[in-house]
């Protein structure tokens, strides 16, 4: 059993949405002020190109995994090196996601809970998931979580409309240079571009021809929804205070008040974010275990989930605080991971595949 088209759609949607809502809003507004929504739009267009690229690379030889494909294209040695780059990115990002989500729940919901509890329960869940169906379960899980996320977010955004003040996004493209708007678009792009993992997902899909359509749909939906969140923040709070907030999406949702009765909806938003980030975490974790196992020739790849869970648990003690993860995002993720991992490597793959196809087609 493999991932169906519908599952790919919801998987891509939930994979991206939660982290985007949590991370990008304030940095984007800091960079491109009231034109942040234009930055977001630009990022969406570029990310569609990345999705297309990723699916085309995956489709070229859907029968082989990413490692096998790399070895075919670049030879045993160099192919492995590129895959190691991918692995390193995933290994570095999983602890960051863990600290982000635990810090976030600590701040908003459960201030007295020791973060190690979140780490242990999340990692246990990940191991459980690996042993119970892995990718297929993840696909089904996102089919369940995706609509919940979509429905509750749309509901909350609708309730927020009466707080909008359209003066907050005026004047359009006047205070900012075009350069800073482009620069601002790198921030949402660095998360939307994570859809590069589609290269590997094509191998796990039922019908590789359906992937492109559904993946584009999922990415567009998550980008549209997180763009709507960004715009709601701008329209409700204005530029000046929203760029100073840590979790502006949650501030704006806690501002909802309907007839003094429907209030404190941010609890729902926390739930939604958690569901979505869990999907992201599991997808990275599964791919990490699966690819590593192939590389080191371990027959039972699920065993590796234990091997990885322990060091990830220990990162709870080694990462000092959340400012580390902010630094990681600014200094490493946007500056190096975005151009190399999400853009340069895929383009090289694509070109090599095109050349290779002309002379020796894949069988």
């Amino acid at each position: 059993m493999k991932l169906s088209g519908k599952q790919i759609f919801w998987l891509m949607f939930s994979f991206q949405f939660g982290d985007m809502m949590l991370v990008i809003n304030s940095p984007t507004i800091q960079m491109s002020k009231q034109d942040a929504w234009i930055s977001h739009l630009i990022a969406t267009v570029i990310s569609l190109f990345i999705v297309w690229l990723a699916v085309k690379i995956g489709e070229a030889d859907a029968k082989s995994t990413f490692l096998q494909l790399s070895k075919k294209l670049f030879g045993n040695w160099f192919g492995t090196v590129i895959v190691i780059v991918f692995l390193l990115v995933w290994i570095s990002v999983i602890p960051i996601i863990l600290i982000e989500i635990s810090n976030f729940i600590n701040t908003i919901l459960l201030p007295k809970t020791n973060p190690i509890i979140f780490y242990i329960s999340l990692l246990l869940l990940l191991i459980y998931l690996t042993y119970n169906g892995a990718f297929q379960t993840l696909g089904r899980l996102s089919e369940v979580f995706g609509p919940i996320i979509l429905f509750s977010m749309v509901l909350m955004l609708l309730l927020l409309i009466k707080e909008y003040d359209f003066k907050n996004i005026l004047p359009i493209v006047a205070d900012n240079s075009f350069y800073s708007i482009i620069k601002g678009s790198f921030i949402p792009l660095s998360l939307l571009g994570e859809s590069i993992i589609l290269i590997m997902l094509v191998h796990f899909s039922e019908d590789s021809k359906k992937v492109l359509k559904n993946a584009i749909g999922g990415v567009l939906l998550s980008s549209f929804l997180s763009g709507a969140v960004l715009l709601s923040i701008l329209l409700t709070f204005g530029v000046e205070i929203s760029m100073e907030m840590n979790f502006s999406a949650f501030n704006v949702i806690s501002y909802i008040s309907v007839l003094n009765f429907i209030q404190n909806l941010e609890l729902l938003a926390v739930l939604v974010t958690f569901l979505s980030i869990f999907i992201k975490l599991s997808l990275y974790f599964l791919l990490l275990c699966h690819t590593t196992a192939q590389m080191v020739n371990v027959k039972n790849w699920k065993l590796l989930s234990f091997f990885y869970a322990v060091p990830f648990l220990l990162t709870n003690f080694t990462i000092p605080n959340v400012s580390y993860s902010l630094k990681y995002f600014d200094e490493f993720w946007v500056k190096y991971v975005l151009p190399i991992y999400m853009i340069a490597i895929p383009i090289v793959y694509y070109i090599v595949i095109m050349i290779r196809k002309r002379f020796f087609p894949f069988n």
């Binding site: 809970t113 509890i117 003066k167 709070f237 204005g238 205070i241 404190n264």
Partner: protein
Amino acid sequence: MMKKMILILICSSIIMLSSCWDRVELNDRAIWVATGLDLADDGQIEVSGQIVVPQNVAEGGNPGGSGSSESFFVVSAKGDNLYDATSKIQNKLSRETFTGQRLVIYVGEELAKRGVKDVFDNFGRTPIHSLRGDLLIVKGTTAKEAMMLKYPLEDLPAIATLKEHRVSGGRGDQVFLHFLITSNKDGIWPSLPVIEIGSTVEELDEQQQNDINPKILKINGVGLFNKNLQLEGILSNIEKQYMLWIMGLLDNIYISNKDEQMNANMLLQKLKCKITPIVSDDETITFSIQLTAHGIVQENNSSLDLRELENINKFENLFEKIVERKVKQFIEKVQSEYGLDVFGFGEVLHRKEPHVWEKVKDDWKEMFPQIAIDVNCTIKLKEVGLSGPSLLTKDSEEKR
């Protein structure tokens, strides 16, 4: 079988026993509905809290029981900053304070004059507070004093303040967010509503104050702040309404006129305000303000028959003139006396002429008092009520 049982037992106990350490029973919470902030003698801050007594808020009056039957009480403590004082308040309370339901923040006039820049940070930092909330300056006395007053109609005085504010046509629970936004923008100066201690019946002396005509809090005007968030001056209630109209935040306003010719009152609804900056060739900036409203005649103590079209026009013109004159006078007063752009003309310029704003941004505070402003008002009379002329006019008088 045994193994399964043990597994189920362990799993269920994990569900039962875990994740409870963040929970606080409702019975262990002191629900805090209003915060008061005052300047203490030695430069410290005094924080007061209005706390609900749940058993006395029951519907249908106060149930019997020992002790006081008030539905609230006030606690206060001094400290270096807001949280220092709040933690000292906790020493006086048997229950943990819960500020998630806080409705109103009162700021004493003394503290407002000293400046509130270093006071409010906690309200945006603790996740339990929403940015929604009312924020008022207490004129003439301390916030602590104001919070101890009961209000006859409501169980909790904080609710009374919030409702009073909303009914009187203010910004209500959006004030706090509005204050945060305006103190961060370059082209608008912050303003806060003002409340003061008054009496239900006017001009009572101390002896006549009793349960039937108690002291209460009344909304009275608006306070203007400079960019250091220090209170610079207080405007009257009607001026506050003009101000909110210009800012586009007012729902309705009563305008009355009394002279030999006419003694009448009109309710204006659907208030709109369009501000247009006009930049001439030599770069002088003027603003044209276009106020529009729908009018409903409330009172017409004259023989003027409002069934006649020309009388209606006369009525409209008269009130348009009044509004234009008063609003213009008011803006000029703010320009000359305070020099603070509380209306946000700077922001309008920023939105509509961003390139001009870029040049004048840094000198806006000096420029604002000299800006020429042109006010234009259009009132459409929509309803005249149930009678043409006043019912007390004789036929022979009717016309004019």
